[in-house]
């Protein structure tokens, strides 16, 4: 019944490292490339009269991971990320990707429209590379903005959690300059300064899985984060960082993504 209008190309080749909220990572970039067999680039005309758009997309990374049995009823209750209560909640009270219909919606900022090529360039992007896009709608604050809408306390708390402080090692900075400014490895960025900003935003959001932390907590384990390696890929680069404490993280190395991976921190995000 629905056919993607195209895909979004982003800096995030995998779920790991992809921010939960693009509004908090305004320097991340991406572009929707329309499938011309579905719709022409003219469909993007006037989109740049708006500052933000809603993207309706398919959480396709979940679908691939576990084949859904169409005849079965869907899971009604889940662990909500960032909710530290010891109870599952109704799936419709969450924005979790693990939903009956794997349809997501997210905001992104309009940077440029090219109706000839059918490309919509965006920033503040929180989607995995090559996510199928079903729809683009303009953000209209008169309809969409309800500033004081009530939410449960844990949502407010999660939002108010201070961001992590991001440090960079001298090695990581040198590697970044070499790989971005000299080797031109990035598709979305021209200067290492831009990439450094974007990566600092991404890392400050603490992307370690809420589920991993909760499970350890429930098992009575100490959620020690010190020295924990966190590794993810970003626009042609491999980023290696370590947690210094509950409140800070340090980028230790930036590598060429094409070099085979040696050390990978396992991230249990299966529920």
């Amino acid at each position: 019944m629905f056919r993607p209008i195209g895909v979004i190309e982003t800096c995030f080749p995998e779920c790991r490292g992809t921010p939960r909220q693009g509004l908090f990572t305004p320097s991340t970039r991406g572009r929707v490339v329309l499938d011309k067999s579905v719709i022409s680039g003219d469909a993007l005309e006037n989109v740049d009269e708006y500052e933000y758009v809603w993207l309706t997309f398919v959480f396709d990374r979940n679908v691939r991971k576990k084949k859904v049995d169409e005849t079965k009823t869907r899971r009604a209750k889940i662990w909500a990320p960032k909710n530290n209560s010891k109870q599952k909640v109704g799936v419709f009270s969450t924005r979790s990707p693990h939903r009956p219909n794997p349809i997501g919606m997210t905001l992104a900022k309009v940077e440029n429209v090219n109706t000839k090529t059918g490309v919509l360039s965006l920033s503040g992007v929180d989607l995995v590379d090559r996510t199928p896009i079903l729809d683009i709608k303009p953000y209209v604050p008169f309809y969409d903005s309800l500033k004081s809408a009530r939410t449960p306390a844990w949502v407010l708390n999660a939002w108010q959690t201070p961001r992590l402080k991001v440090q960079w090692s001298d090695e990581a900075l040198k590697e970044l300059v070499f790989l971005v400014d000299e080797k031109k490895l990035c598709k979305f960025y021209k200067s290492s300064k831009e990439v450094r900003n974007a990566l600092s935003e991404v890392l400050s959001q603490d992307m370690r899985s809420g589920n991993t932390a909760r499970k350890r907590h429930l098992r009575g384990e100490n959620v020690a984060v010190e020295g924990m390696l966190f590794c993810f890929d970003f626009d042609g680069l491999r980023v290696k960082s370590v947690s210094l404490s509950e409140t800070s993280v340090r980028v230790i190395h930036i590598e060429d993504l094409r070099i085979p991976r040696v050390l990978v921190a396992p991230d249990d995000d299966s529920t």
Copy 2:
């Protein structure tokens, strides 16, 4: 790939008379009834911790009207409702129901959750009765509210257009009391006062088709509205109103919906 999680039951059996924005008709009511073969009522748990939800739905009334040829490319440019320029705009710059993938999103206010029956009662509802629902997501202002996001001038103008003044004839008021308070025709309302509020909100929004007005305007016709009959159905009732001027409308009769229709004002909303 996607299967509706249920349908929404609303006061609006047809597109005609259904408000464009539920936020402006806070007294309209509806309820999402989950399809238990798809998901259990437990999925609604905790939803009432939020004040508003996003409903992701199928614009199924369009699909039925005109069969989409899946092999063809979709229409890229359309007339935007309320945009009085003489040019079509890119479909992705609009919220029009006539889009490549007929997926809509709208906000509604949470009134009650019943996990046993799998029913989510809502207000401020702007959907046609029995619209298939694909997803329910909580409204989180920290992610979703961008109060000052830029929009084109015509969107602001349309939003600032004063509402119509709604008058009620003595006959209509008498009929309303009889049909609602005595004959109990309404499914969503118990008192005629509530229905009167809801109907006044709905009519004040001027639901005459933007396209009808624009086409007449483009043809050089006088967009005379005086005396124009506007008739629509609402929760078991048939509402007959006339435009008194550009700025006011008068409800002349409220009838039992089950009585065969005699006078219907044609409403050309085909593009």
